[in-house]
């Protein structure tokens, strides 16, 4: 093997090592999962996320959404609850190509309160699931979308 070629391979190896180190550090930090935020039918995506766990309808989760939204590109949503021990809240938009909009992890120093803005491709239910220990609590609301903006879902 000629010298330049050896140098070339050594360099490639160094780059590969550097790249895998970057990947490893990302893996250590990130919980974000491509599978959860990929286009899919709501039922399939929901099942992938929660498995076959039972979901309980709850009136202790408050969900505020407009009854009808002029523009599906920006729909304001407010979630709140006085329940204790809620660690995670997920926002699902039933008819969006990517149904899972967001998951929110709350520490004990945060109240269960969040406002955000979501995209809606068409009129459908917005479903909020809160994880309370091992229990899954659900509330939902129908939103009429006048114009599913092209920036949706």
């Amino acid at each position: 093997m000629s010298l330049p070629r050896r140098i070339f391979f050594t360099q490639i190896l160094k780059i590969l090592i550097g790249f895998s180190a970057v990947l490893a550090s990302r893996a250590g930090r990130a919980n974000w999962t491509l599978e959860h935020f990929s286009p899919s039918l709501f039922e399939d995506s929901f099942k992938t996320f929660y498995g076959n766990q039972a979901v309980i309808d709850s009136t202790d989760l408050q969900l505020k959404l407009p009854a009808s939204a002029e523009n599906g590109a920006v729909v304001p949503i407010t979630i709140s609850s006085d329940l204790e021990q809620i660690s995670q809240v997920a926002i699902w938009v039933e008819k969006n190509p990517t149904p899972l909009a967001a998951t929110v992890q709350f520490s004990s120093n945060a109240n269960i309160y969040l406002t955000a803005r979501i995209k809606m491709a068409e009129s459908c239910h917005v479903i909020v699931i809160a994880k309370q220990g091992e229990r899954l609590l659900k509330t939902q609301q129908w939103v009429n979308v006048m114009q599913g903006g092209c920036g949706t879902g």
Partner: protein
């Protein structure tokens, strides 16, 4: 220039934090109106909020969140001078962060 704007408002028991991020949040299904080509997906994946170095809230998200994401949330036990730090990373591995002191 930072992409993150942070503000706070003292409530009776808690402090409300408002957070606005400048980001296109493209989901990869929109077309460029001029040349008709698909605009590549470009969205924030993770947003983390820390209070004096401790995680208090984190949000994983996808392209179903609106352009220029806005959030507000309520934190307990905040004191004047406490440090709030928000940071995000998107699917292009771009990141930004901002710090804010509670008044």
């Amino acid at each position: 220039m930072t992409t993150i704007k942070l503000r706070s408002q003292k409530l009776a028991n808690d402090t409300e934090i408002k957070l606005l991020i400048t980001h296109p949040m493209e989901n990869g299904r929109n077309r460029d109106p001029i040349n008709g080509e698909l605009i590549p997906a470009h969205f924030i994946q993770e947003l983390t909020v820390q209070h004096n170095g401790q995680d208090v809230l984190s949000i994983d998200m996808g392209g179903s969140m609106s352009k220029n994401p806005f959030f507000s949330f309520r934190l307990k036990n905040l004191q004047s001078g406490d440090l709030i730090k928000a940071s995000w990373i998107d699917n292009w591995q771009q990141t930004d962060s901002a710090e804010y002191r509670i008044e």
